[in-house]
Amino acid sequence: MATVPLDQAKVDRCRELAASVASDVQSFIDKHTTVGVERTILRALGVDGVDGEGVSVVNRVIDRLHGAKVLGRGACTFIASELRAGAESVQDAAERIAFGDDVDLNPGISKDETEAILAPHVNAALLRIDTARDERSAFRASFPPSPEPHRYVIVATGNIHDDALQAKAAAKAGADVVAVIRATAQSLLDFVPHGATTEGYGGTFATQENFKIIRAATNNASTLYGHYVQQTNYSSGLCMAEIAWMAAVERLDMLLNDAMYGILFRDINMCRTFVDQYVSRRFIARAGIVINTGEDNYLTTADAVEKAHTVLASQFVNEAFAKRAGLKDEQLGLGHAYEIDPGIENSFLLELAQAQLIRQVFPVHPIKWMPPTKFKTGDIFQAHVHDAMFSLVGIATKQSIQLLGMFSEAVHNPMLADRYLSLKATRYVHNTANALGDEIEFKADGIVANRARQVLDEALAMLEEVARDGLWDAIGRGAFGDIKRTRTGGKGYAGVVERSNDYVNPILAALEAWS
């Protein structure tokens, strides 16, 4: 296979530096919780439903506890205390906390007592995740494995029923993975909408019911068309962890999940994001879900030639965080993208270099290869060719997951025909050049090899700096995606809570204890 020269010592050093970067942040994470994390734990324990105003019970519970400044003990403390006080079920306990007049917000209950009371519920919570995972795996195993790159398309009508139709259409046309894009502003909502939804701007709300509807559609499509169709969504934004749990129990295969995307691209507070990403990933690890990180996005705000190394550096950081959350390499779909200005001479070679470098640095990781977007214009014919070159690099460098480019990228969310034509073109390119990567070698001192060397060197230099300054400051300087954020700025900071000494979270503890 065509390889670029790779100095393994440098790669090892990058990993070492990233590990230290992540450890530094992890020490913060381990001392904090967030409203999102606690809501997630409630959901995992089985709390469900909305009140008369359509507000989720989990939000009511956590808002109350947070308002009372007692969330630092962890939601479990209060559930256990209500159960002890006679609540019939976890749901009942939650409703008492949410709506009850006489709820004890400073219960005298020890960590041990809480753990003991919740033990059966914790077991049930874990069993639910494990069962969903095993069910998904068994179903998936009943189909032949799809060749890589897996072809990933998005649907985004705003109406979940239309999305289901589009998902099946895509599956028939050869899609291996279907993502339902979220409504534009959902990531800034500090709650997860409830039920099936039929209205959304720029995408469809991620709700548990919507997940169910798409899972039914993709499973149906798998059976009909004889290949397994993966489902994915976004564990990102202010409800990162809750969505991770929903995805776990609704048998999703993949999730967009990144340690820094929300900070950079959604202006979500760093402290919040770091804590949330950790907990979300603990669930993801257990559920056997593959994550897709978002480094591709950097190249939409920063230049893809100058800042290519920031993608690689960030991937090491994402990897380091993921490891701390128990994810296996096989679950790390690190993201990168074909975003170099197509007008640059030999840009195809630079893209080849980057794609191949990342393939080699992360050899067993299900690398996620993202299409050109920024330099797409409304000339759909030209855009289609641009995507073809992208697909060619995808197959030549053996990327694992390929999000298909759409010729209408600069126009609208993809429509039925756009997706159909993209799948058709991609199938052609992948098939006609299937063995290309095995057929060629790169010249030892050529453009490709030198570019790969350069990017690794620059990533290493950058990681040295980040490790020296700490991630907080690096982000403050605009190291990633040319975007600067401050430690206490951004959305959702108010939802970050320091854990008190008697903080208790037996579900997280169980996830952490699991290998």
Binding site: T157, D162, T377, D379, I380, F381, V411, M415, L416, A417
Partner: protein, 252 residues
């Protein structure tokens, strides 16, 4: 075919009824703010609501190329559409051979690409042994005697040969369609046959990438065959027209 909806339907973008269509064209004006507006209005005149001009580029000096998306107001009712179709259901090779056997002679066919048209690949696919996409040509059947006269054949020569070999069917291929020359060539053959009182002696088939059954009928042929035609389609049609049915075969 009765499952087609019997109500007006719109184009489908990603939701029922959104009417989304994509249009591209060139106008002889250089790119400008007004040119963009002209393109928008031009699109509107086609019945497109909220047209979005996604591209305006100078395709040549004084010419702009546009891509537009818009919501088409128009509908079509598939249930109301009547269009002639070749009725024969395709038979297997054994059925074809068996039915020709009942006739006690071979079916003789002669084909050509007529006029100045030199595109023989289509007629070769139907007649020659090789066939197309794994479906072997008429030559490959024991029951057929197939003559392929090739390209650029004049109509009178084709008729002469058809008479000489005692053909059951004449197969005409026309690929070049500029200014409808394929229609002229096809019609001319039929006229010539009629003038010579020979039209009824042959089954006449018309084929090519821009041909359908309706066009074949319109020009006076017995049938028309378009893109994707397989030799077995043609064989089935001819057998159906020329050979007795045998008992254990379902009627059609």
């Amino acid at each position: 075919m009765s499952e087609l909806p019997n109500r007006p339907i719109k184009a489908y973008g990603d939701r029922e009824g959104d009417g989304m269509v994509q249009l591209s064209f060139v106008l002889r004006i250089p790119p400008s703010v007004r040119a963009r507006e002209a393109a928008k209005r031009f699109a509107e005149s086609h019945g497109l609501d909220e047209p979005l001009v996604t591209t305006m580029e100078e395709a040549a000096e004084g010419f702009s190329y546009f891509v537009v998306y818009g919501h088409s107001k128009h509908t079509v009712n598939p249930g109301e559409i009547e269009v002639p179709e070749v009725k024969t259901s395709v038979m297997g090779r054994d059925v074809i051979e068996k039915r020709i056997k009942l006739l006690d002679r071979k079916l003789v066919v002669v084909g050509a690409c007529t006029g100045s048209d030199a595109h023989t690949v289509g007629i070769d696919a139907i007649l020659n042994y090789k066939g197309i996409s794994g479906d072997k040509g008429l030559e490959s059947y024991k029951g057929f005697e197939a003559y392929n006269l090739g390209a650029q054949v004049e109509n009178d020569f084709l008729i002469e040969r058809a008479r000489a070999i005692g053909a059951d069917a004449i197969l005409v291929s026309q690929v070049i369609t500029q200014r409808n020359c394929h229609k002229e060539n096809g019609e001319a053959l039929i006229e010539m046959l009629k003038a010579q009182g020979l039209r009824e002696k042959f089954i006449c088939l018309f084929g090519g990438p821009r041909v359908d059954h309706a066009l074949g009928l319109e020009l006076g042929f017995d049938a028309g065959f378009g893109p994707g035609t397989k030799p077995s389609d043609v064989a089935s049609y001819l057998v159906d027209r020329l050979c007795p049915a045998y008992d254990d075969e379902a009627p059609h």
